[in-house]
């Protein structure tokens, strides 16, 4: 019996094309680095609102930069549901991993030398875990690489006994730079298309 060709690959290709502008990476990296900088300057609490500002900044930038070059698309309900479930999973994982690590290490539930050694790496490890879930939810494997980089940054931080905010600043900067490179390539490869004509 003949097997009917599936459009799954086409859907994946279209979905990946949507994220190839690098704007998400730039905004996410800048947000993480911003939280680190805020912590360094002693204004950590207002910086917690930075992700919300980041979401709005991403939407505006997408409308101004990406849409005139690539247009806009609404994905299928099935894909949007998967995306929402993925984002809920990211948030839940962040809360569970973060809450667990913070109560165990920072609030003295454990006194093991390893936990104390790893303490400065906790914030960047939480972000690494969120990056890994983002890779799984969106199918964007560069976020897997970011997760690994962030985890390695955390290990380096713990090894050098530096303050936790340096990990967020360094990790965020790496992600933002990668995003900026992608954005430059996107701007080069996708010029603004002339307005819709019937020529």
């Amino acid at each position: 019996m003949a097997r009917q060709p599936s459009l799954t690959l086409t859907e994946k290709r279209v979905f990946h094309a949507f994220w190839q502008d690098g704007l998400l990476d730039v905004v996410a990296g800048a947000t993480i680095a911003g939280i680190g900088l805020g912590w360094l300057c002693g204004v950590f609490v207002p910086m917690v609102a930075l992700p919300i500002v980041g979401v709005f900044a991403w939407q505006i930038a997408r409308r101004r930069v990406t849409e005139p070059r690539m247009g806009s698309v609404a994905f299928s309900t099935q894909r949007r549901h998967r995306l929402v479930h993925g984002l809920i999973a990211i948030f839940s994982l962040g809360v569970v991993v973060g809450g667990n690590l913070v109560t165990r290490v920072w609030f003295g539930r454990t006194h093991s030398a390893l936990a104390q050694w790893f303490a400065p790496a906790i914030p960047v490890t939480i972000v690494a875990a969120m990056s890994l879930s983002c890779a799984a939810a969106l199918g964007l494997w560069r976020f897997l690489l970011y997760g690994i980089i962030l985890f390695l940054v955390g290990l380096g931080l713990a090894g050098a006994d530096l303050e936790p905010w340096w990990g967020l600043i360094a990790g965020g900067a790496v992600i933002a730079i990668c995003g900026a490179v992608m954005l430059a390539a996107f701007l080069r490869d996708f010029p603004i298309l002339p307005s819709e004509t019937e020529d």
């Binding site: 459009l7 086409t10 279209v14 994905f75 002339p194 019937e198």
Partner: protein
């Protein structure tokens, strides 16, 4: 009696949808089949067609009743939103079924 190497039925070949049996139009329909809707610029960026060429193909698909075209303005720029109709979706399904049956016959 020797069995024919290729058993292709001329009627099956003729039954292929002529509107869809064109690479440019098929790529437009395949792209629209996997999303809810997309705008003109998105289709242009994904298919690599010029504006005029894409417009011509969209008109043929609209005449066949395979897609809906909605025109509006966004930030004082014209915006054309396109979506596949139910009949467009079933035409694509039928086309893929026929094509894969034909390919299976010669494989």
């Amino acid at each position: 009696m020797r069995k024919r190497a290729i058993e292709l039925n001329a009627r099956d070949i003729a039954s292929l949808d002529k509107v869809l049996h064109e690479p440019a139009r098929l790529s437009v329909v395949a792209c629209l089949a996997v999303v809810q809707h997309a705008d003109f610029v998105f289709l242009q960026s994904q298919t690599g067609m010029t504006g005029g060429n894409l417009s011509a193909h969209l008109r043929k698909l609209e005449e066949a009743g395979y897609l809906t075209i909605e025109k509006s303005f966004q930030d004082s720029r014209p915006k054309t939103t396109l979506a596949l109709t139910k009949s467009g979706r079933s035409a694509l399904d039928a086309y893929l079924k026929t094509l894969s049956a034909l390919l299976a016959a010669i494989a």
